[in-house]
């Protein structure tokens, strides 16, 4: 399997403020009833974006100025809560190519990387700077350089940390580990043979 090498991404951004945005917020549990991930993007942030009658609530993702943004910016501990991959899937299917936040919940982070959706951590001040730039100029081009771990926008450069293992996986096009895991099958059999509970 050959996967895209994700070294750098360029696009417009949208800032969804708040800390501890959990996976139930990202995609409410009632949308998890599905047997495929197709179509999940439409329900991203549903409960904070839509009223019960389907009309829009004020939310950055409903703001036409940020339509077509591919880089999602947010606060601390983004993606906490459930391990459901529906959350990164909804983000990706909505059209986002990367998430930039102050920090991320563990499982969410791993799930994103496996989908080839980079997560970069930046300081609150730097995220605020980017948010301010896109607030005044929504068309601002943002470059998330995964390899160099930096974000460039409006003539500024700020640090954006991508964990070593994730960066390696993204940059070298091995973010979906299935190929490598399958290659290890002979070693899997040897390891399994050591355990009585795994005797076939």
């Amino acid at each position: 399997m050959s996967l895209a090498k994700i070294t750098s991404l360029t696009g417009r951004g949208v800032f969804v403020p708040g800390n501890d945005i959990d996976t139930d917020r990202i995609i409410p549990a009632r949308y998890l009833k599905c047997v495929t991930f197709d179509g999940l993007g439409a329900f991203l942030f549903q409960d904070v974006r839509k009223n019960d009658d389907g009309t829009d609530k004020p939310h950055p993702l409903n703001d036409p100025r940020f339509a077509g943004a591919t880089i999602l910016l947010s606060g601390a501990n983004f993606g906490c809560g459930s391990s459901r991959e529906h959350a990164p899937q909804a983000i990706q299917k909505h059209g986002f190519k990367a998430v930039v936040a102050e920090g991320f919940a563990e499982i969410f982070y791993g799930n994103c990387v496996t989908l080839g959706l980079p997560c970069a951590s930046a300081s609150r001040e730097d995220i605020a700077k980017i948010a301010a730039a896109i607030e005044t100029h929504p068309e601002t081009e943002i470059v998330l350089d995964v390899a160099k771990q930096e974000i460039r926008f409006a003539g500024q450069t700020v640090k954006a940390a991508v964990r070593d293992s994730a960066r390696d996986a993204l940059v070298n096009g091995r973010w979906d580990p299935i190929g490598e895991l399958l290659e290890g099958l002979p070693a899997v059999q040897t390891t399994a043979a050591k355990f009585p509970y795994l005797a076939a």
Partner: protein, 473 residues
Amino acid sequence: MTDPKSLFQKVWDAHTVRTLANGQTQLLIGTHLIHEVTSPQAFGMMRDLGLKVLRPDRTFATVDHIVPTDQFAEPFRDPVAQEMMDELRKNCARFGITFFDRASGKQGIVHIVGPEQGITQPGTTIACGDSHTSTHGAFGAIAFGIGTTQIRDVLATQTMALGQLKVRRITVNGALRPGVYAKDVILHLIRTLGVNGGTGFAYEYGGEVFDRMTMEERMTVCNMSIEGGARAGYVNPDETTFAYLKGRPYAPKGAAWDAAVARWRATASDPGCHYDDVVTIAAADIAPTVTWGINPGQGVAITERIPDPATASTVDEKASVEEALAYMKLTPGAAIKGTKINVAFLGSCTNGRLGDFQEVARYLPGHRVAPGVKAIAVPGSQIVALQCQQLGLDQIFRDAGFEWREAGCSMCLAMNPDKLVGDQLCASSSNRNFKGRQGSPTGRTLLMSPVMVAAAAVTGAVADAREVFGVKN
């Protein structure tokens, strides 16, 4: 003499297949548990890639999230739920996976079924596409909640790619005060260490309090490790663990049992092993705890007041208290005790086991659910339901005005017909109080122990179970 090692390190090392190019470990997963919500997409990916299940004999399925608790016959009223059910049946049949379907009498919440069947064993690795997989750590297993793509990885290779974790030892010494339960221990720990205090860690729970706990109580604590941000949580196996497992359907038998116990004993953390962090808590400091906010760390002792954002120490804290109180429609600085409730929910993988219902049933006789409160009791598995019936507990709950339901996740989350309506306030024995978690986008959840849920149910408001029931455990 080799260096002393923690249980985590021993299990990790033994199950390491190799190091991957990105530095992560290809980790052998001994036991794979699947359910209807997160597996169909993984099976879809398997089909797309032409892969087959490597170890159907180490993969076990049940159905829990979407099952209605008031309807046994199929088709379900909800066609999507039925579709998910059918999909799981089809995938299990196709790949030869054991499915504890409802007709088997062994169906239930995945984190209750594994231990109940004796599938969950010490020194093993377990994965399940569900964040509360940490529950299985109660047996001294290293158990990970995983995403759908990782489910595919485990189905196809019985391994997954994972970075090494650090280990934090959490010791709780002394004796819990009367009316303080395992649920309070974990709510207190999360409140103390924070909802992301465990990031990058596996939690090892130990000390006198854990030594004395039943397996069910250990499961309650390990269950919520994830709510504290930890990737896994475990208790070292001991005589209590072995006694629980003995005779269970999937537990080793005869000579194999003795050999297994010897191996299991050896997987416990060695004295003097290295921990990356150590936290010590005095049991006497733990009170019956109730959450007031929108994450499990936002809790107070039943005798305390709801925080006031005006007294918050940081800007962040102020903002998060304000956001939580606005959503919860609670008054800053008011006593949590006396907060009126609309719904009481007993059940879930945190507190839906036999011991939970037994403990509540000790106190229920002579009490009635308060007028206007909807109270439901939902056994976590068909076996728990049967045990409760055999002991006459279901009748005690019914007599007190609870609805007694069939096994499932029920009102823990909004994927089956059990849901909050509007901004109803629910006293809940489950594990998550996130916005909208219980099915209504404005529904509100207060997490607490089962006995505290019962006290709220019979008084119609958040109450101190020690006063309502004279709890003296």
